[in-house]
Amino acid sequence: MQRALTLYQTTVGKKVVMALSGGIIVGFVVGHFLGNLNLYLGPEALNGYAAKLHSLPALVWGTRILLLFAFGAHIGSAYQLWRRNVSARGSRYKRRKDLATDYAARTMYWTGPILLLYLIYHLLEFTILPAHPGDVYRNVVEAFQNPWISAFYLAGNLALGLHIFHGIFSAFQSIGANHPRYNSYRRDLAIAISAVITLGNVSFPISVLAGIVTL
């Protein structure tokens, strides 16, 4: 039997899709984080920023549709690759010793679904069912004053940091961006972005719990 293949039908093509869609999502995560920094400038700054964004429906809905496609492609490809990779081993090793991989890479299949749950909760809490529509600052501070919710955000952002650390490094490899002169920068960039995003995002609930950011 012979068959014609498209790029997406190959495992390599699916990884390219994972890399590109992941890149879109990381781009949004960075932008989202920078916007959130308005929390430290007070209620007027954060609420004003939110109002300004929502006065541009083309931007808001364009971003949402793009993200929906990116998440669909990312999760769909991940599921198909996961199914293949699980069955590719055949029988299990009694002894297996890792030589090169790291914690972030090994836990991608865990941090991925954790992030999906985190995302659903996050959207429900602040976008779909906010306690005080229009008052982003109050929503955020009231939510983070609850230590359980803050703990959940801490855990979610640790998962995010691990996931995008391996993701960013791995994406360059998947799209074939590999050059001896720049290879060390791929890891440096992955460390820098994931560290800034994780530390920055966990600073919000910690600042609220510590009483630095108050109503």
Partner: protein, 261 residues
């Protein structure tokens, strides 16, 4: 160095044939000199088993010089054992301690069905090569040695990729049993050379398609393959394979075809 004799305990995967149930059997290798290679130690154990009238442990080997790619055993969870850049035939017993327990398993992968004990069927690799690991050249009388100019750096890099001996340790070590490092090394080696340009696009598509058709997993960039590779074949070639495939898919109009397993 004075001769040192050690005793080791082996837990060996025994399986009478394909699709038969397998399990671990324990053997004691006594008075093994540390100058023995790992396979010579197994030869000693097997001689003992044959004398006792039991079935010897089946394992693959050919050159025993670390260059042919035939041998391969997962030793204590590491493909080809604890010494870096070394095939299991070139691994010596001085790497082990007296009284150590050693677990021996075959390469485990859907694409490498177990034939018997520690021997697996690696004809999947042959089919990947058949799919595109060749070049078209004029045969006949030998051509001038330097007829085709190739830059030194290009020849060196192609040689780095061509160092792959096709042993399958990359598949054995990969958490996804992916054959990416092998396939990438072969695609890269030929695509770098001027002789490999004629089939360049077709080669990438056909060899990747065959790699997938064999049931190997996908690359998730753990780097286990590179760490286990007895020839130090670099992950860099996987990136190059990905680049070659995207380039081929964008450029070429003829569809990729795969052979059935």
């Amino acid at each position: 160095m004075a001769d040192e004799l050690i005793n080791v305990t082996l837990h060996v995967w025994r399986q009478r044939g394909p699709n038969r149930p397998g399990g671990f059997e324990t053997y004691h290798a006594k008075d093994i000199t540390t100058h023995m290679s790992f396979l010579e130690m197994l030869d000693v154990v097997n001689e003992d088993l044959i004398e006792k009238g039991t079935e010897p442990i089946a394992f693959d080997y050919d050159c025993r010089e670390g260059i042919c790619g035939t041998c391969g055993i997962v030793v204590n969870g590491v493909a080809h054992g604890p010494q870096k850049l070394t095939t299991v035939c070139q691994l010596h017993m001085r790497q082990f301690e007296d009284g150590q327990e050693i677990w021996l398993e075959p390469w485990r992968a859907q694409g490498f069905p177990i034939v018997k004990d520690l021997i697996v069927d690696r004809s999947g690799f042959d089919r990947i090569i058949q799919a595109g690991g060749y070049i078209s050249i004029r045969t006949g009388s030998a051509s001038e040695a330097n007829e085709m100019p190739i830059a030194k750096e290009v020849a060196d890099r192609a040689m780095d990729a061509a160092a792959c001996i096709g042993c399958g340790a990359c598949v054995a070590a990969c958490p996804n049993a992916s054959a990416s490092l092998f396939t990438a090394a072969k695609i890269s080696h030929l695509s770098l050379m001027p002789q490999g340009q004629a089939e360049r696009a077709d080669r990438a598509r056909r060899m990747v398609a065959q790699m997938d058709a064999e049931g190997f997993g996908a690359c998730t960039n753990h780097g286990e393959c590179e760490a286990a590779c007895p020839k130090g074949v670099s992950l860099e070639w996987i990136a190059r394979m990905n680049r070659e495939l995207v380039r081929a898919m964008v450029k070429s109009e003829t569809p990729a075809r795969t052979r059935n397993r």
